[in-house]
C-alpha cells in the first residue's frame, strides 16, 4: 500500500537517512520517536510534500516519488488541525470536494451528511476560531475523510486534546479504521495510543528507522535498548548470561540474579527489559508464588498516579513496580517497608548483544 524504498531527504540541517518501510493495506500504522526525529517529515513525504533526494516512494504499488500531493489521494490531518480560518466549517469540510470538481450545492449536500456522522452538524456555519479543540479536531478529520481517501495520515492528532475528548476521538478513529477500510498512518509520542490503536509500528530516531514490526512486539519485546527506553519500558538493566539450560537463562546483574527466557549463550552481555506492571510485590512471610525471580528489597519511594502507584524498590538494583493504590494501602506499603518481589521469567525480555 505504502512503501518507502531507501528514502533519504534533507530539510535544512535535518536528514532522513535511507528509510525503508512497508505499510500494508488496512494497517493502523504508528510512527513513533522523540521530537525532531523526522516522524512528520515521513508523513509529509508520503503525502508528497517533500521530494526525496534518493530512494523511491510507492503508493498502491505505483511509484509516486515525483507525483504532486494533489494527485496522491492521501489525506493529512495535522496536530494543529490546520483548519482554514477564513472558511466556515461547512466550507472547510467541503474544500476537498470542491477541488475534485463537485458543484457547491452538491458539496454542501455531501458535507451535511458527513457533519452529522461526526456529530458536528450544529457547527456547520461556525468559523474555526469559535470552536473548541475537540470540535476543531473533528472538523479536521471530517474534512480529511470527505474526499474518501484510502490513506489517512495523522500527525499527533490527540496531543492537544483533554483526556475525555481523547477517548471520544480514539473511538472515532477506531470506527473509521474499521468501517471505512482506511489505511491509517499516525505519528505519535504516546505509547498508550499505540497500545490502543496500532497494528504495526516503526520507531524513528535521528532520522533513521531503528525498528519496525508488529505493534505488540515493538512495544513489549523491542530489539534495542534505545527503542526499549523510547517505548517506555521502565526497567532496563544490563547484565551477562551466567547459565543457560534449554533457553532458560540466568542473568547476573552484578549481585542480583534474574531468570529469563532467551537462547543467548553463557557469557553474552544482555539487557533485561521488565515492564513495571509485570512485577509482583509481597510482604515477607506470605506464601511464595510461582514466579522464578524472587528477591527482597526495601521500598524507597511510592508515587501515586491516578488509580495506580509507582513503587521504587531497592533490591540490589532499583526496580519500579506499578500497583493499584488499593494494593499499596492494603499492604501498608511505604518508603522503608521491606518487601519481596516476584518476577516471572517470561516477563523478562532479553535484548542480545
Amino acid at each position: 500500500m505504502i512503501e518507502f524504498d531507501q528514502v533519504s531527504l534533507a530539510l535544512g540541517s535535518f536528514r532522513l537517512n535511507n528509510v525503508s518501510l512497508t505499510i500494508n493495506r488496512g494497517d493502523y500504522y504508528f510512527i513513533v520517536g522523540p521530537s525532531g526525529a523526522g516522524k512528520t517529515v515521513i508523513l509529509e513525504a508520503i503525502a508528497g510534500l517533500h521530494r526525496p533526494r534518493r530512494g523511491r516512494v510507492l503508493l498502491r504499488g505505483e511509484e509516486v516519488t515525483a507525483l504532486p500531493p494533489e494527485k496522491r489521494r492521501v489525506a493529512l490531518v495535522y496536530q494543529d488541525y490546520s483548519l482554514f480560518p477564513h472558511m466556515s466549517v461547512i466550507d472547510n469540510v467541503g474544500y476537498g470536494l470542491r477541488m475534485q470538481g463537485m458543484g457547491r450545492a452538491d458539496a454542501r449536500h455531501e458535507v451535511v451528511g458527513l457533519l452529522a456522522e461526526f456529530g458536528i452538524a450544529h457547527l456547520a456555519d461556525r468559523y474555526p476560531g469559535t470552536l473548541s479543540g475537540g470540535e476543531q479536531q473533528r472538523v479536521a478529520l471530517a474534512r480529511a475523510v470527505a474526499v474518501k481517501p484510502d490513506i489517512l495520515l495523522l500527525d499527533e492528532p490527540l496531543s492537544a486534546l483533554d483526556p475525555v475528548t481523547q477517548e471520544k476521538f480514539i473511538l472515532d478513529l477506531q470506527r473509521l479504521h474499521r468501517e471505512d477500510d482506511l489505511t491509517i498512518v499516525q505519528v505519535s509520542h504516546a505509547r498508550r495510543e499505540a497500545h490502543l490503536l496500532a497494528t504495526r509500528m516503526a520507531v524513528i530516531i535521528d532520522g533513521s528507522l531503528v525498528e519496525e514490526g508488529e505493534a505488540d512486539v515493538v512495544l513489549n519485546r523491542p530489539r534495542s535498548r534505545e527503542v526499549a527506553s523510547f517505548v517506555g519500558i521502565e526497567n532496563i538493566l544490563d547484565g551477562a548470561v551466567v547459565r543457560n539450560e534449554d533457553g532458560h537463562a540466568t542473568v547476573d546483574l552484578g549481585g542480583q540474579v534474574f531468570e529469563a527466557v532467551t537462547d543467548a549463550p553463557v557469557g553474552e552481555e544482555v539487557t533485561l527489559c521488565i515492564r513495571s506492571d509485570d512485577i509482583v510485590l509481597r510482604v515477607p512471610g506470605s506464601t511464595r508464588s510461582s514466579a522464578q525471580n524472587t528477591m527482597t528489597g526495601t521500598i524507597t519511594r511510592v508515587v501515586e498516579n491516578g488509580p495506580v502507584a509507582e513503587v521504587k524498590v531497592d533490591c540490589g538494583v532499583e526496580l519500579t513496580a506499578v500497583l493499584t493504590r488499593r494494593s499499596v494501602r492494603d499492604l501498608s506499603l511505604a518508603p522503608g517497608t521491606p518487601v519481596t518481589l516476584s518476577i516471572k521469567a517470561t516477563a523478562v525480555h532479553v535484548i542480545r548483544g
Partner: protein, 286 residues
C-alpha cells in the same frame, strides 16, 4: 470580576480590572513620549489649518481651480496605477521570498527590493530616468512602440512604482509568512494545485497585509517628488504643482494647495481604513 488584558479588544489600558481611571505609570510615560510625535504633527496641521481657514475665499478659489483638481486626480490615479502594477508583479515576488529557504541569493534579491528605501530620492529618480529616458535601455524600445516616459504620465507612474515597491513587497511578504505552511499542505493533499492553493487559501489570508501594503505604497507614491520630477516634471502631480506654485506664486497659494491636499488625503485614507477595518481579520488561535 471581568478582566481585560492589554491586548484585549475592549478596554485595553484604560479599562483594566480595577474600576476608575487607573493605569500603569510606565505606560503613562510611554503615552507622554508618544504624544510628542503626535503633537508635532497636530501642531503642524493646526498651524496651516488656522492660517488657511482665516481666508476661506482664497482657499475655496484654490481648491476649485481645475489645475489643482486635475493635479490631485492625476496624482491619485498615477499612484493607484503604480500600486496596481505592484499588486500584479510584486505579489508573486513577495510569495516566493516568503516561502523560499534562506540563501545568499535570496538575501541579494531582498537587498535589491529594499534599494529604493535607502537611496536618496534624487538618485532613485536618476536611476528611473536613465532606464526609461528616450535613449534608455527600456525607454528606447518602448518609445518605438509609442510608450514615452519623459514628461509623460507613464514616467510618473514608473517613478512612483520604483520608490513605492519596497513598501508593498515587504508588507505582502510578511503577510505570506504569517500564513502557516500547514494550511497550504492540507489544501494540496485535498486536491488543490499550487496556484489554486495560493488563490483559495494563502491570498485570502494575506488580504489585510496586501491592503496595508497597498495603502503604504500608494501613500508613498502620491507623496513622491524628487524621483518624479527627474523623469516627468510635466504633467504636474501635486508635489510638483506645490513646488512650482511656491517658486512662482509664493507661499500663499502653495500653502492653500497643500492644505487642500492634506484634507483630501486624510479623508481618502481615513475612509479606506474604515471601509476595510474588518478585511482579512481571522482568529490567530487557528
Amino acid at each position: 470580576m471581568k478582566t481585560e488584558t492589554l491586548s484585549g479588544d475592549k478596554g485595553g489600558l484604560w479599562r483594566a480590572e480595577r474600576p476608575g481611571w487607573h493605569t500603569d505609570r510606565c505606560i503613562l510615560w510611554f503615552c507622554i513620549m508618544g504624544a510628542v510625535i503626535v503633537g508635532i504633527t497636530v501642531l503642524a496641521l493646526a498651524n496651516i489649518a488656522i492660517t488657511e481657514l482665516a481666508d476661506p475665499a482664497h482657499l475655496f478659489e484654490v481648491a476649485a481651480s481645475s489645475e489643482v483638481i486635475g493635479s490631485i486626480l492625476l496624482t491619485f490615479c498615477a499612484g493607484a496605477n503604480a500600486v496596481l502594477l505592484l499588486v500584479i508583479f510584486g505579489t508573486p515576488l513577495a510569495y516566493v521570498l516568503a516561502r523560499s529557504r534562506p540563501s545568499r541569493f535570496k538575501e541579494v534579491v531582498e537587498s535589491v527590493v529594499d534599494i529604493p528605501l535607502i537611496l536618496p530620492h534624487t538618485v532613485a529618480g536618476l536611476l528611473v530616468y536613465l532606464l526609461f529616458m528616450r535613449r534608455g535601455w527600456l525607454g528606447a524600445p518602448l518609445a518605438e512602440i509609442g510608450l514615452a516616459f519623459e514628461d509623460a504620465y507613464p514616467g510618473t507612474v514608473v517613478a512612483m512604482l520604483f520608490v513605492a515597491s519596497p513598501f508593498f513587497i515587504n508588507s505582502m511578504r510578511e503577510g505570506f509568512e504569517k500564513v502557516p505552511v500547514h494550511l497550504e499542505n492540507v489544501a494540496r493533499t485535498l486536491g488543490a494545485g499550487t496556484f489554486t492553493t495560493f488563490r483559495t487559501v494563502t491570498l485570502p489570508l494575506s488580504l489585510r497585509h496586501m491592503f496595508n501594503g497597498a495603502i503604504l505604497a500608494w501613500g508613498r507614491a502620491i507623496g513622491e517628488f524628487a524621483a518624479v520630477i527627474m523623469i516627468a516634471y510635466y504633467p504636474f502631480i501635486i508635489s510638483t504643482l506645490i513646488y512650482y506654485s511656491f517658486t512662482t506664486d509664493g507661499i500663499h497659494t502653495s500653502r492653500s494647495i497643500a492644505f487642500v491636499v492634506i484634507v483630501v488625503s486624510f479623508a481618502v485614507f481615513y475612509l479606506l481604513r474604515r471601509m476595510t477595518r474588518y478585511l482579512g481579520r481571522y482568529d490567530d488561535r487557528v
